[in-house]
């Protein structure tokens, strides 16, 4: 896992595959306190399970091959009272108390100043709304979440269609996104990096290709990143290009929004900052000119069933103009 480059417009040098959750998901490699406590508890439960299995196997061995005296004792009432009732009650109660104590950071209410983001599950991508300290929408993005290192970030989880599940294995556990309901989880990264996420609740069609990217910056760099986006002005250079015209005339703008332009569609991912994102297609492909062209021209071949139709009527020049326009959206 390589840290993000200081200028995020630079290509993702760390290798794209590394930024995704990958397989198997890195559940034993926590990068923050909320994933860490879950991992610790998992190991403790695993080793307790191994210990109990060992005791049971030993009893089984005695029952089958042990000396007569031991077998008689194993069948006595005392063993049932101790091994069958007292031992589980004591051990399971202790584990429950310990587990709840260990993971209390997951449910403790966040501080009032914690940064808050609303992530809404969509078939098959993620709407990302950064909320200001007043709780109002401060900045829209999609499929990628930027956070400061070492700070707890509150993520409000919602869904607009079916049940999804938000899961960034190295930063926290899974939590469902349920239509009509708001679930809240906390994430935190303790070092800069790019962390892959994945929808963890089958949501139809290309569910397996519903990925997510979390980028953690040092706090000062995060402030710069956020400030750059909030003061964004529509690039005059890109505004009157062929790509900008095509974006309107071919219908892209019906589903996609680009702040400061007439493109106001909300059905698909917001493209205001697409030029700086690490990935396209919801965390599944690296973001470069080639993948942009491939996606715009025939997204169905890449992510079958997703709601973006293939644009096979566009010429190569059209596709390049649109890719130029996408790369200019910073």
């Amino acid at each position: 896992m390589s840290p993000p480059t200081s200028t995020l417009s630079a290509p993702n040098k760390g290798g794209f595959a590394e930024s995704l959750a990958g397989w198997p998901p890195p559940v034993l490699d926590p990068a923050g306190p909320y994933a860490g406590s879950v991992t610790t508890l998992s190991w403790i439960l695993f080793f307790m399970g191994v210990a109990v299995l060992g005791v049971v196997l030993m009893a089984l061995w005695i029952a089958l091959f042990g000396k007569e005296r031991l077998r008689a004792r194993l069948g006595g009432k005392k063993v049932i009272w101790i091994g069958g009732i007292a031992f589980p009650v004591v051990v399971l109660t202790a584990l429950l108390v310990y587990g709840l104590t260990l993971t209390r950071n997951l449910t403790a209410p966040p501080g009032p100043t914690a940064m808050t983001v609303r992530v809404t599950g969509e078939m098959w991508w993620w709407r990302v709304d950064y909320l200001g300290s007043d709780g109002q929408l401060a900045m829209r993005d999609a499929n990628e979440l930027h956070i400061p290192v070492g700070k707890t970030v509150v993520v409000q989880l919602e869904s607009n269609d079916v049940i999804h599940s938000f899961w960034v294995p190295r930063l926290s556990g899974k939590l469902d996104m349920i239509p009509g309901r708001r679930n809240v989880m906390k994430i935190q990264a303790d070092k800069p990096g790019v962390f892959g996420g994945q929808c963890a609740e089958y949501c139809g069609g290309p569910h397996a290709l519903m990925g997510f990217v979390v980028v953690a910056h040092e706090p000062a760099e995060f402030q710069r990143w956020m400030a750059a986006r909030q003061t964004r002005v529509q690039q005059a250079a890109a505004a009157n290009t062929r790509g900008a015209q095509l974006f309107q005339s071919t219908g892209c703008a019906a589903c996609h929004r680009i702040a400061g332009t007439q493109a106001n569609g909300l059905a698909g991912p917001d493209l205001t900052h697409i030029g700086t994102r690490q990935s396209i297609g919801a965390g599944i492909l690296p973001n470069n000119r080639g993948t942009l062209i491939g996606w715009i021209g025939n997204a169905q071949a890449i992510k079958p069933g997703n709601r973006m139709p293939p644009y096979t009527m566009l010429s190569g020049e059209d596709l390049q103009a649109l890719a130029d326009y996408m790369q200019a959206q910073k």
Binding site: A17, I284, P286, N288, R289, G290, T291, G297, K303, Q320
Partner: protein
């Protein structure tokens, strides 16, 4: 390739012809020799930059992009983009800077360095009918 009786028979029948034709051109290994290039590293680079967003590429299960041509059996292919001879130096240049060689092509320059481009070419030359 399934080896059944019919196939072997056909092979035996065609063998003299095949040797005759093969004698007319340099052997493929020499024609597409890519010194100091690593096909495995090439496949990793292909995955990293996402070539498969447009091309179906054997060795990658996903994606199977369909905007550009499938690269299955690319090593047997005579031309690149229908314009250029399919030779190592040309291919290594084309995969990283296609518009320089074929102006107007939809395939853009890709974020590969020269070493990676040679590795990618080396991998593409492993894609053969056998």
């Amino acid at each position: 390739m399934r080896h059944d009786g019919g196939f072997l028979f056909a092979l035996r029948a065609l063998l003299p012809l095949v040797t005759l034709v093969a004698a007319c051109k340099p052997p493929p290994d020499e024609r597409q020799h890519m010194p100091q290039a690593d096909p495995a590293a090439g496949l990793a680079a292909i995955e990293r930059v996402g070539c498969a967003a447009c091309h179906a590429i054997p060795g990658l299960n996903w994606p199977k992009g369909a905007l550009g041509p499938s690269l299955e059996k690319f090593g047997d292919q005579g031309m690149i983009a229908g314009r250029l001879p399919n030779r190592p130096d040309v291919l290594a240049h084309f995969v990283r800077a296609a518009p320089e060689l074929v102006p107007g092509t939809t395939m853009p320059a890709m974020p590969l360095n020269e070493k990676e481009a040679r590795d990618v070419a080396a991998y593409l030359y492993t894609l053969r009918a056998k």
